[in-house]
């Protein structure tokens, strides 16, 4: 049908062409008969006929026909108009493409992280993340196995609750141990997520708490290490030197339930039977829970139900549930576990910035379009007086905007398919299996389509609405008298320029503040030494040693690494500050009776002797740990100043006792505060535990070097391998490199804000340049007259500059008001600088003002140098 009507249209078109040709032929024939030469006759006939294309176009409009034919006609006309001014078309398309790409890139990051928290999971919108107690960034796993069982069996609002615990382990059996990320999971883990195996099966309910060494492989591990061996199911592989049986392979794309983190393989909760403690004790919190809401149940109802269930548990086992036990539920997109907590704090703000860029671009393209329409208004007036109605004209112009933005959208689509993958660049290598990237799927494509349609409407509709108001007769009559397109168009152009300046100022201000924040963060003193420190992670916990053997190896490691040339101090720790990892435990002073639901969590770290010396953290009082603070000695801890003030305000903390994770320890030292996670965090209490007394889960060697720590990497690794060549050593890197992770989000914010601001600056400056240049050109005749009448060149310069100054001034004033309101939104992202920092405000205002004036200077300068005689002739 469509094809058929289009065919009819073609025929009609051909006939019209023929009809016009016949008309011309007859006119020529008549003229030749009257004695004109053939060539002169042809020229005269064509001149007499007028604009053939325009006649055809107006005639076509009389055919009417279906909406499709009308649309096709308008579309063809729009394309012809755009082809006629390639400069405009290319500029506008490029600008819109960049602006749409900015939006769709940030959107693809949101889509790939927050909106798809668990790739592969069925109906992720029904999944909720359970948190017990205090809420903060990356909390420690909040539930014990027995509590999990009770919640799972007694709740009435969730269709299922899964539990998992992230860890890492070495795949042995090959030449080199390979580190893999592993999750201990409940038997219903895959079932609750709605994941089906590509090979074999997943875990059975009866396997959950029993020591059955079965393993499910992740797809990428199966692909890379086992070359997609389809016979892998039932085979035995070696994990941490224990044989385990592969029972299944997870589907491609599924990498576990922790948003933004990758699991390579999955085992049950205690596959080797090596950790009965945490399977049987209610005070051993190690599991993260995700539930699936029953159909028709809201998150609030589920939270109430689970809270009530948790209360029953707390009443039954009060001693194991000190601290805050309230249950909160989060949708997965802002789940505190994994990366989404950080994402939710960063990405929406960036999307808002990008939206401002889009708005700014639309204002800019609208300016260009308007200038173009003003110069086309004669053609429009003719079309109108020939019977084209106003609706048709508006439709025509909007269509041109839509065609532009479809072109731009297509370009943005191509660009975004690349830029969406750049998100991973912002995250340095770290010990965490960070798996964050944008994704370019149908949501993003739809998003791009919406963005571009929006842009098209904004760019086309405003000038169309404005231009269609010009009465045709007056435009034709006032052809040369009022060439700058009427007072109303001038006002609209001015408003658009003011809007562009006013929109770009907040972008500039925000990016200025964020860039200075980044500099402040980099220059801030975290309270510990970052240079000349090397850390290496030793896989002691997974190598199958007994506790005594492990302790012996730790001593050997310290001895050997300390003896290396270039090493000043070697120490042990199980935690590296500023790597987005926090460990918390319940703690309260001796004699203190905790209130029910009072949060007792405090950050803690296990550190070895000379830890504070190696990091240059001053001991304010007391002493460091020594090798003698071991399992046989009485329990000791060191606290930082915040903890000392928190637990014993106004008292001497030395000799006081604190219950940490259930055991009483005596304070032997107080150290200066240092940064735990972010430089701009508010200080939180920190309790240090002696490593040899209470071995940390991780064993990290921390070395203070004389020279560049990177040079010592092979030597340290060798020294450890000399003790036992099978000891896996990972994450050998300098402290400086590790702590970069903490500023990843500040880098993302300032990089993008900086880029957006740059785009904004360019747009605003080109916008004001375009308008001032256009107006000056339109006033060439007037300027010529003024100069002929004795105006000096400086007068002309002043005349042109003045209108630029005026526009800039109004734009800056409006922008400043807008910007100062907006910076409050980003205030909590800032560090070491106020949201209204006067220096930054002054510099961005100066920058934008100066750039705008410079943009006005060029047309002014050109006007000033015009020869008045030739200027007067030009109309």
């Amino acid at each position: 049908m469509k094809w058929f009507s289009n065919f009819g249209f073609q025929r009609q078109n051909r006939e019209l062409q023929e009809e016009i040709d016949a008309h011309l032929e007859m006119a020529i024939a008549d003229r030749v008969e009257r004695g004109e030469t053939a060539e002169a006759a042809r020229q005269a006939a064509v001149r007499e006929f007028g604009n053939i294309l325009l006649v055809q176009d107006v005639t076509r409009q009389m055919w009417g026909g279906g909406w499709f034919e009308q649309l096709a006609r308008d579309l063809r006309y729009a394309l012809r108009q755009l082809r006629k001014s390639p400069g405009f078309t290319i500029t506008a398309t490029a600008m819109l493409a960049v602006a749409i790409c900015a939006n769709s890139t940030v959107f693809s990051w949101i889509d790939g992280t927050m909106l798809r928290p668990i790739p592969g999971a069925r109906d992720a919108g029904d999944l909720v993340s359970l948190q017990r107690g205090e809420r903060n960034f990356s909390p420690t796993p909040p539930f014990s196995y027995l509590d999990y069982r009770d919640l799972r069996e007694h709740n009435r609002t969730l269709a299922g609750i899964l539990a998992y615990h992230n860890d890492w382990i070495a795949l042995t059996g090959g030449a080199q141990p390979e580190r893999v990320y592993i999750a201990n999971v409940s038997a219903n883990y895959f079932d609750v997520l709605g994941i089906k195996p590509v090979l074999g099966r997943f875990f059975l309910p009866e396997e959950e708490s029993r020591a059955i060494p079965n393993v499910v492989l992740g797809y990428s591990l199966w692909k890379t290490r086992y070359a997609k061996d389809r016979a892998i199911v039932g085979k035995s592989i070696e994990v941490a030197r224990h044989p385990v049986t592969v029972i299944g392979v997870a589907p491609e794309g599924f990498v576990g339930a922790a948003p933004g983190l990758r699991d390579d393989l999955w085992v049950t909760l205690d596959p080797l039977g090596s950790d009965p403690w945490r399977m049987t004790h209610r005070d051993s919190d190690w599991l993260i829970l995700i539930g699936r809401l029953r159909p028709g149940v809201s998150r609030g109802q589920a939270a109430q139900d689970l809270d009530a269930q948790m209360n029953h548990i707390v009443v039954a086992y009060p001693d194991q549930h000190l601290g805050d036990n309230r249950i909160t539920l989060d949708p997965m997109w802002r789940s505190p576990f994994g990366a989404n907590g950080y994402m939710a704090a960063t990405l929406p703000i960036l999307l808002a910035f990008a939206a401002v860029v889009l708005l700014l671009t639309c204002a800019n393209v609208a300016t260009l379009t308007l200038v173009r329409f003003v110069s086309r208004r004669r053609e429009l007036a003719i079309r109108q007086s020939l019977g084209a109605n106003r609706i048709q004209l508006v439709r025509q112009m909007v269509l041109e905007g839509v065609v532009l933005s479809i072109l731009a959208g297509a370009a943005a689509l191509v660009l975004t398919s690349w830029t969406s993958k750049t998100f991973a660049w912002f995250f340095r290598a770290s010990s965490a299996p960070i798996n964050l990237n944008g994704s370019m799927d149908h949501t993003v494509v739809i998003g791009i389509a919406v963005f571009s349609l929006l842009a098209g409407m904004l760019c086309g509709a405003l000038p169309a609405w404005r231009s269609s108001h010009a009465p045709a007769i007056e435009v034709l009559k006032a052809e040369s008298a009022n060439i700058s397109g009427g007072l109303r168009n001038r006002r609209l152009l001015s408003a658009l320029v003011v809007a562009q300046i006013a929109l770009s100022l907040p972008l500039l201000l925000c990016s200025g503040l964020l860039l200075r924040t980044l500099r402040n963060l980099a220059g801030a003193n975290p309270g510990f030494e970052q240079d000349h420190i090397l850390t290496a992670s030793v896989g002691l916990n997974i190598a199958g040693y007994s506790n005594d053997e492990a302790q012996l190896i730790r001593h050997k490691i310290l001895d050997r690494v300390s003896a290396l040339p270039g090493v000043k101090v070697a120490s042990l720790t199980d935690w590296i500050p500023m790597t987005l990892i926090q460990k918390r435990n319940d703690a309260y002073p001796e004699g203190y009776v905790p209130h029910p639901h009072e949060s007792l969590l405090v950050e803690n770290a296990e550190v070895g002797p000379r830890y504070f010396e190696s990091l240059h953290i001053p001991i304010v009082e007391g002493r460091e740990f020594t090798l003698n603070d071991d399992e046989k000695a009485p329990g000791v801890i060191i606290v930082d100043q915040t903890a000392a003030r928190h637990y014993w305000p106004g008292q001497d903390p030395l000799g006081k006792r604190l219950s940490v994770g259930g055991s009483l320890c005596t304070v032997v030292g107080v150290v200066r505060n240092s940064t735990h996670t972010f430089v701009n965090e508010s200080p939180e209490p920190m309790v240090y535990i002696s490593f040899f007394q209470h071995p940390g889960y991780e064993t990290m060697v921390q070395v203070k070097t004389e020279g560049n720590p990177v040079d010592l990497e092979p030597a340290v690794e060798n020294a450890i391998h000399q003790i036992d060549p099978r000891l896996p050593v990972f994450d050998v890197r300098s402290m400086r490199e590790s702590t970069h992770l903490a500023s990843s989000f500040a880098v993302i914010q300032s990089t993008l804000a900086g880029m957006f601001a740059l785009i904004g600056l360019v747009l605003a400056v080109t916008g004001i340049y375009g308008v001032v240049a256009y107006r000056t050109q339109m006033r060439t005749h007037e300027i010529g007259v003024r100069m002929a009448l004795g105006a000096s060149r400086v007068d002309v310069l002043r005349l042109v500059l003045l209108q630029g100054v005026w526009l800039t001034g109004v734009g800056l004033a409006l922008g400043l008001a807008f910007a100062l309101g907006l910076t409050r939104v980003i205030a909590r992202l800032l560090y070491g600088i106020g949201a209204n920092d006067p220096v930054t405000v002054a510099s961005v205002v100066t920058l934008l003002g100066a750039m705008s004036l410079l943009a006005c200077y060029f047309p002014a300068h050109r006007a000033m140098r015009r020869n008045p005689v030739s200027a007067i002739r030009e109309l």
């Binding site: 016949a22 008309h23 007859m26 007028g50 006649v55 005639t59 009389m62 003719i382």
Partner: protein
């Protein structure tokens, strides 16, 4: 709104007049576009110069309203051209247009020649 309305009337008047002139010309027999332009010019003593940009849209509109019919024929000078012929509906429309035109002329005349009328009485 008022301004728009006035403006619209002016265009309608113009269109109506052109339609009437074309239909009148076709009363003498089928004619092609160029022929209509020539006929109007000759008959008006070179006063009426119809723009092609108005003529062809008008012809195509009249055809769509079935006031004229078109067919491709050879002209006397062996030129293939599209000839328009007035239909029965077109003749009725012409009569209506003519009536309206006469009323307008009369109305305008009665305004313009108010003085002679007074002197007559």
């Amino acid at each position: 709104m008022n301004e728009k309305g006035q403006y619209k009337n002016r265009i309608d008047l113009l269109q109506g007049t052109l339609d009437m002139l074309i239909l009148q010309t076709l009363q003498w027999g089928p004619q092609h576009g160029y022929g209509i332009v020539q006929a109007l010019r000759l008959q008006s003593g070179d006063v009426l110069q119809v723009e092609t940009g108005s003529l062809y849209p008008a012809l195509h509109r009249l055809e769509r309203q079935r006031w004229v019919q078109s067919e491709w024929k050879q002209s006397e000078s062996k030129q293939r051209a599209r000839y328009y012929r007035i239909t029965a509906r077109g003749k009725k429309q012409l009569a209506r247009d003519l009536g309206r035109w006469e009323r307008i002329v009369e109305a305008i005349g009665s305004v313009m020649y108010v003085k002679p009328k007074e002197s007559e009485s």
